[in-house]
Symmetry: C2
DNA sequence: CAGAATAATTGCAACGTTGCAATACAAATT
DNA sequence: AATTTGTATTGCAACGTTGCAATTATTCTG
């Protein structure tokens, strides 16, 4: 009876370190150590443990590890409430998912409900140590969320840059290259009265695009206007209306740059409705994240931002940041991919 | 010295039950009990504990609770690899997020990489008890994932129905109502040669729509064809091409029903390119999940599926299922919302 | 072959929580 | 004052893991 109890304990249930310990006759500590590659162990011991672990399909219990070490093996993605890229969430998540494949990391998603991301979600994650690292998107120049995480010395990575002096990890779309490409393309088509429609003036991206746009336009000696963000930010029906009006206006730009696919769709359908044709009266270039735009309007040039890649890259950077790598070495840009028709 | 150590222990760090215990002079057990509303406690004690907890901002440690009770306070959303609704993930996640607001639940997202969801993700969640409940989408008639979770008696809810005899929780779009509405609408416009384009024939939804479509068409005594799924499933450029061909074909349907926004967009732009105009030569009705379609093609009738609502509802059902409520009481349908122009 | 040096393994405590059995307390009954 | 009855509170063990100090096994040295 005593023997039976000693040799075979609980046949049912999940395999734990204890299961392996009993199986191999080693102690809990040894098994634990061995599984994490303890260099001081005998070769044979490590083999035995590894074998037993495989045999019973051992996977470390997340709660146990987390309680003991504080490591959550979770990365948190804070998702903006009103993204302006189509299928942004889907692609971003696919990217992250791909990058954590085969690791012990899980992905938790914290959706933001307000239009502009508040600091609450971040504070919650920090206070409750609910993740090992955070990915935020739509970063603002002096983003308070970034400030908070830097102060707490908490691993994070931004989809977007900031103005802070202290370096932090980021992967950002190369907005400057985007703006430059777009202006150049329109110039090459002989356009010289450009309009930039851009919606969210809170992000660093906005500033990068606007600044580059103005610079390029000035350099080329042509006219360039930045559209009132309040119109661009509005519902798509408004923007469509704006397109119709623009089509019938006495004088109008002959080249339009659009920073968002959804906005481009609304605007262009308005222009068409108003009787204009892209490629004839004017040219238009838009950022795209899916192939909807070129499907509907094959005459439109577009420049792709690969959100899926961004998700992968952000995660790659974050994991290295969690490992302790210095932030200044974890900064990359995503090149815009032109799709000239 | 001994006193100092006893009265004030660790000024820094997170507040735990011990913090409150020391603060109130009560024991760990009492504090724990009290916080969970122990009925046997003195009124004054509960007040004191509650006060102290609030004062130090106590939040139960997830790892501790999870280790002890097995409760993860996590719900897992398994996201399909190739959704055919625009911004499906975004809206679904917003819905779930809304529904778990104010609860202790977190949301983890497991992206699926293959086109058809495999059983792997589910098995992983089950084996590792990595969530208290699961939401799956795009359910198939005899979905093996559902089978697996039913066998394991694990709480889950489907976005979609199945053919299984054993009842399970679901919230599904009312595809039958959708198909009926669409056929009726086209009939009312005098159309009598209908085409149904539908992409993913693996889902229960597909069968529901096709069956209802055929039934309604037969009842009305008109012609109705279901398009080869392989074309509908293809890249949007193919579908666009199909639209162009259709526009110039000697004979073609005068009414089209489309089960997906993306597909509708590709098809319609092909039709337009081919010279057809919706509302003149033919009418088209599509399912929509965003307002992109009516923005681009105001002449198209659409029927909305509210994915955000679905997310909320699925979560509501799942939480009740986790509480132990019977599956048969947790089955709801989402009504289609017509947008006749 | 004793003793030192090294290699390999282990026991213990702790992370924060909860359920249960056990105890302490207060009031009521002998 | 001793016993009974509740009522209110508490100690203990356990969930699975890991880091450290301590122990045991092995090899080396003189």
């Amino acid at each position: 009876m005593r023997d039976a109890k000693k040799t075979e304990k609980k046949p049912k249930g999940r395999a734990t370190l204890r299961t392996i310990a009993e199986l191999t006759g080693l102690s809990l500590s040894t098994v634990s150590l061995s599984l994490r590659g303890g260099a001081s162990l005998k070769e044979e011991t490590r083999r035995k443990v590894a074998e037993a672990a495989r045999a019973v399909g051992y996977v470390p219990d997340r709660a146990g590890v987390r309680l003991r070490t504080g490591k959550t093996n979770v990365i948190a993605l804070v998702l903006d409430g009103a993204p302006d890229s189509i299928d942004f969430a889907q692609n971003m998540i696919q990217g992250v998912g791909h990058a954590i494949r085969g690791t012990r990391y899980h992905l938790t998603v914290t959706p933001e409900f307000e239009r502009t991301a508040s600091v609450e979600s971040i504070r919650y994650i920090l206070d409750n140590r609910t993740a090992d690292g955070v990915i935020i998107t739509h970063t603002a120049p002096r983003d308070p969320r970034v400030q908070l995480m830097m102060d707490a010395d908490f691993p994070f990575v931004c989809h977007g840059r900031t103005e802070f002096f202290t370096p932090h990890a980021y992967h950002d779309f190369h907005s400057e290259a985007f703006a430059r490409l777009a202006v150049e393309r329109l110039l090459s088509k002989g356009r010289h009265d450009l309009l930039l429609t851009i919606g969210d003036d809170s992000t660093t991206n906005y500033h990068n695009i606007v600044t580059t746009f103005k610079g390029e336009v000035a350099r080329a000696g042509i006219s360039g206007t930045v559209m009132d963000t309040s119109v661009a930010r509005g519902r798509s029906s408004e923007l469509r209306k704006f397109g119709i009006d623009l089509a019938t206006a006495p004088q109008r730009p002959d080249g339009i740059i659009c920073d968002s696919e959804t906005r481009a769709i609304a605007l262009i359908s308005g222009l068409y409705e108003g009787g204009l044709r892209i490629g004839r009266e004017l040219d238009l270039i838009s950022k795209q994240t899916t192939d909807i735009l070129p499907t509907v309007f094959p005459d439109v040039d577009s420049i792709e931002e690969d959100v899926y890649f961004a998700g992968k890259e952000l995660t790659r950077l974050l994991l290295r940041r969690i490992e302790g790598e210095a932030p200044e070495t974890l900064q990359t840009l995503g090149e815009p991919i032109p799709h000239w028709h």
